[in-house]
Amino acid sequence: MIEFTMPSLGADMEAGTLREWHIEPGDYIEHGDIIADVETQKGIIEVECFDEGVVEKLLIKEDEKVPVGTVMALINPVGGEEREEAVVHEKPEKMHETRREPVPHVVSPVVEHHRIKISPLARKMAEENHVDYTVIKGSGEKGAIVKEDIEKAISQEEEQPKSTEEKPGTTTNFREAIAAAMTKSNREIPHYYLEIKVDMSKSLDWLAERNKQRQVKERILPIALLIKAVAKALQQVPDLNATWENGLVKKPEINPGLVISLRTGGIVVPAVRQADRKSIEEIMETLNNLIPRARSFKLRSSEISDGTVSITSLGEGGADRVYGVIYPPQVALIGLGSIKNEPWVENDMLGIRPVLSITLAADHRATDGHTGDRFLKALRQQLLNPEVL
């Protein structure tokens, strides 16, 4: 029997609330099917299952909040054979370490709290007022939580400054999630930084030429080309496409996550899967699909958790370069500054070129400066030869 557990959708996630099941017992599910909507600090995420089989039993009710790793459903594998794969299944194991960390606890992990007794009215009141009823001691029959308990909790909360969970996707929640991940990163990861400047004229000319043939909505932004170049450079230096879990774990796929800033504050980092195998056009199509969904909090679980490396891009007209903070457990973050015309020496001649500062923040436990240097040189090589991208 396969246990489908509450997935971890980032180093910062402690628990999630099941909002809706898309399956019921007896349903046949395939690899990649969306089986539930889970609410996290980052909004409502569609959760996929990477197993195949028949749903045996649903163990969690809708609107229940459970810690990462809690078994949510039992699935009978096809042919009765159990597979230990399942991305969603294995991730919580990795997160155990994270969960023990003294990061700010947005919700209190309460195992087996689905057995908590609570009256329907009390539950409704708790939900409406964002009260975490899993930590309340009930005063009703057999310890059941009743209306009065929730009222008491609300009045207590009003007296204190509000720091617990609010609506998903709010600025407070995002800041707490980012704070937890970045604090962990800065505390645990010995970062080293390298920078390289690249003459972008060839890449930009090449792109402009290709965009001329395209309709406006098919045009490609430089970021799509940069993602492809990063992915190809990572093929050559795979040690940076990895995670650190008491040792370097290289990842079979190159899935760069692109840091997307949200207008309401905060960031999300959806992954462009297998970017090394996609054409630049396909990467742009993926971005056209991912970015609007990221901004409206409609990402899928695997899109958030599949990233193997991160790219942060400042866009045009802003700061020259960015020294990033690695998103754990990844081991590298590539920072793209804004492309600016600068004096440039080539073949002893001084000219003006559009120049991009690319930085690499890397985990010194996993790699050394030499590896980082090889990666940046490989990346520059890609950008100087856009026609082979």
């Binding site: 402009a208 406006v216 909505k217 045009r219 932004l221 430089p222 970021i223 207008r263 971005l287 007209g317």
Partner: protein
């Protein structure tokens, strides 16, 4: 696109800007202000804005013209010639 007055055009621009940056206040833009900087719109959203604009007005804005349409004044002038 013959019947569109300057006011109509402005209204359409504001509406499209609002749809990509719901929290922004395009009405408060100064005519010579850089739209992207003032409303904090990134290159992805600006491309979406141009795509929407082209669709609404039935025009095709070449990429080399992006630099000519960075302020409200530029945009109005550019579009009034082309529509």
């Amino acid at each position: 696109m013959t019947a569109m007055t300057k006011e109509d055009l402005k209204k359409l621009l504001f509406q499209l800007l609002k749809s990509i940056a719901p929290d922004a206040e395009p009405e408060k833009l100064r005519p010579d202000e850089n739209i992207r900087e003032a409303l904090d719109i990134d290159s992805f959203d600006y491309l979406s804005f141009i795509v929407a604009l082209d669709e609404k007005l039935g025009i095709e804005t070449p990429e080399e013209d992006y630099g000519k349409i960075s302020t409200l004044d530029d945009l109005m002038n550019y579009l009034s010639v082309r529509t």
